[in-house]
Amino acid sequence: MKPVRAFAVFWWDFVVGDDWHLAVAVVAGLALCALLAQARVAAWWATPALVLAGLWVSAHRVAAEARARRRGGGAGG
């Protein structure tokens, strides 16, 4: 099973990268866009909105972790 697992891990890392939340935001954005388009409602805003929100959340988590580490550790960066 090791080569299969290594193959799967490689493609997961290659496609999904550092933060899986971004991939979820992409899928959610495109899915909402497709649903709205099927309902014949203006849908072009859905992908940018969810994707940029996902980017904001992802970056904010890193900033919050850095801030918490500085406060908790005392020494800081």
Partner: protein, 258 residues
């Protein structure tokens, strides 16, 4: 040449430059430490594999219906682009250490020097490191070339842009015979991330069945808008994290995994 084609060529060229700089650092470190023969064979084999991937995937993608192609390609470009953009934003905000080619070169050289080398034998270590380095750095570029090219019916333009980047970076590496530390790699990653994200949004949305106001001209709004949002995030993150911009130097404290 339309704005879309210019953006396509720019995205492929910049992405290829960034990956070529990283691959060149690996090959230089191996070549200068363990000799060039086996490493260059590894480079050649990796380039052949990448050429086969582009040659096989390009025509295959042209058989896929355009809406399905745009949905899948849009999603892939979005995931790649957001990954690049996220890293670039965190680096610019001082929350992640900048990529430092000189440090990467030193690390690679000391690793290579630690592995024993049989005199005049084929150097499997040098071959493997160079093959993997070039293949992994090149795989993302190959995907970008194939997906951009197939979507706009301009695989040749995309391939030429990638080839131009290879020539430019190789020429620079031959001239300086040292890691290309002065290349503004992080700025280029920021631009590539914004371009990939913008094209991903554009094609993904069209593939999902929606129409952009203004059609193709919407790209002229999407690209600057994504750049503006990304730059705003950098400023905001600097305030939230409470770090001065001076922290965004090589060797700064890392966060977020990398």
């Amino acid at each position: 040449m339309t704005a879309g084609v210019v953006a396509l060529v720019a995205a492929v060229f910049l992405a290829c430059c960034v990956e070529m700089v990283e691959a060149t650092t690996i090959v230089l470190a191996i070549g200068l430490t363990r000799g060039w023969r086996s490493g260059l064979i590894g480079v050649g084999v990796a380039l052949c594999v990448l050429a086969v991937i582009v040659a096989a995937l390009g025509p295959a993608l042209s058989l896929v219906p355009i809406s399905a192609l745009r949905l899948v390609v849009g999603a892939l470009l979005l995931v790649f682009g957001l990954g690049w953009l996220r890293s670039a934003i965190l680096r610019a905000a001082g929350l992640k250490s900048r990529h430092d080619e000189e440090k990467a070169f030193r690390d690679q050289r000391s690793e290579a020097a630690a592995v024993s080398l049989a005199p005049r034998a084929f150097d499997a270590y040098g071959f493997t490191v160079c093959f993997k380095g070039v293949l992994l750095e090149g795989l993302e570029v190959a995907f970008i070339v194939v997906t951009f090219g197939a979507n706009q019916g301009r695989i040749l333009d995309a391939a030429l842009a990638a080839a131009a980047a290879v020539v430019v970076v190789l020429a620079a590496a031959l001239l300086v015979r040292a890691p290309l530390a002065k290349v503004p790699e992080n700025t280029m990653k920021f631009a590539v991330g914004a371009l990939l994200t913008s094209f991903g949004m554009f094609w993904g949305t069209e593939g999902a069945g929606a129409a952009w106001p203004g059609g193709d001209a919407a790209l002229l709004v999407i690209i600057p808008a994504v750049l503006a949002v990304a730059l705003a995030m950098v400023g905001w993150l600097r305030q939230v994290a409470g770090r001065p911009p001076a922290m965004a130097q090589p060797g700064a404290v890392t966060a977020g995994g990398a």
